[in-house]
């Protein structure tokens, strides 16, 4: 399967560990992710006011690139656009739905993008987890050479993969897609009641105490439920839940640090792809001591 892929800004910088592990894991499963040419920032947040079309221009420009790739034969009749970052997924899918449902809005945006070809409204924005579910988690399980054994994982979904309903990839109240994936990788699943709770998102910039408290609740509840690590697919959740653990520990002395994995890092690990593809050195809380203790990584690595 050859599919257009939109990385977004974080995957080239702070979330390299998400991109590298995703590309390698997808390749193992026979998915070739082809980066779209001349992509631009999606805007990170979906514009919610009824009259604001300007902020849909950036996502729609990325959708035009998918049309071009099909016309140029880079992909063959593949109008799905694959994303990894939850925020890019949410923002671009939201814009794609808005212009598909509102032809007048699409006309205005097409007229405004004078030097672009018209967007025809037929690109479907998808998240890698959806492609994995479509392939079947049984099949994913067949690629596992290093089963995650008794590693106790609490899948964390956050907001942007689940809500609002028309955008989300799973039941917004009772998601299971993460648990299904990690179970296929051989991990033990722990249910965290805070799996859908917002991490505080962009408040990390101007009001980080809010984020520290929310991240503390999410992580300490996962710990209480018996988890050894949590997972995410969002580089902003990763920053708030992983990099902010230093500040959480300063505020809450009894707090125990907990590794935060990108879902793709656990795939790369279970597929036996090597540490250069897992990129655990990119995580703030180093997960390698835990993985060595579980004999999932070799001693001394």
């Amino acid at each position: 399967m050859k599919i257009p892929y939109y990385p977004g800004c974080s995957l080239k910088t702070t979330a390299r560990n998400l991109e590298v592990s995703a590309l390698a894991s997808a390749s193992t499963l026979g998915i070739e992710m082809v980066e779209i040419p001349r992509w631009n920032c999606c805007g990170t947040v979906f514009s919610l006011t009824s009259d604001d079309l300007m902020h849909h221009v950036a996502p729609v420009r990325n959708l035009v690139r998918v049309q071009e790739m099909n016309r140029q034969g880079i992909v063959d009749n593949e109008y799905r656009l694959l994303t990894l970052c939850s925020m890019c997924f949410n923002t671009m899918k939201g814009s794609a739905l808005r212009v598909a449902d509102n032809p007048d809005d699409l006309d205005k945006i097409n007229n405004f993008m004078d030097r672009e070809e018209d967007y025809e409204g037929n690109v479907e924005v998808v998240h890698l987890m959806e492609i994995l579910r479509e392939m079947g988690f049984d099949k994913i399980g067949e690629a596992v050479t290093n089963p995650l054994g008794d590693l106790k994982i609490a899948p964390y979904y956050g907001c942007m993969l689940l809500r609002p309903k028309e955008i989300g990839i799973d039941d917004p109240e009772d998601p299971t897609i993460g648990a299904d994936l990690f179970r296929a990788l051989g991990a033990e699943i722990v249910d965290n009641p805070y799996k859908k709770v917002c991490c505080g998102a962009y408040h990390t910039v101007a009001d980080k105490n809010l984020v520290i408290d929310l991240a503390y609740s999410i992580l300490s509840q996962a710990d209480k439920a018996g988890a050894e690590a949590i997972t995410t697919s969002c580089p902003l959740c990763a920053f708030n839940l992983d990099a902010r653990q230093k500040e959480i520990a300063e505020k809450y002395p009894e707090f125990k640090t907990m590794p935060v994995f990108y879902f793709t890092q656990l795939m790369a690990l279970a597929f036996g792809l090597g540490e250069d593809k897992c990129m655990f050195e990119g995580n703030y809380v180093d997960p390698r001591p835990l993985l060595r203790a579980k004999a999932l990584l070799k001693e001394g690595s």
Partner: protein, 134 residues
Amino acid sequence: MINKLVITSKNEEFLRRIVELSGETITVCEQCGTCSGGCPLVLEMDVTPAEMMRMVQLGQEEVAETRTIWLCASCFSCTVKCPRGLDPSKVAEALRQLSLRKAIDHIDIMNIPADEMDKLPQIALVSAFRKLTG
């Protein structure tokens, strides 16, 4: 003593403006409070999301001065729970836009400490500037 609330044409105009900006039929909110119950930031708020909806219904412009509208991070927890199918996060966004469209920023970028600027990922900065500056 009887307290009587008088809805003026100014109140009605404010409600109409927020209905238009948010695209939400705010008048159908029946004040059940489910949005407030599911909000991860409600404890930090000065008015709850349900109170925010009620203030807009009554056209009370002071709702635009609350901490609540800036604390809402558009996580859509309320959106998926509302039994009337309303989206309070769109209402909060409309209320923020009243200020931001006058170029009144909610945060001062110059006040972000230099060591924080060094470590904050761009996904955080872009989203914060999109939501909190005009």
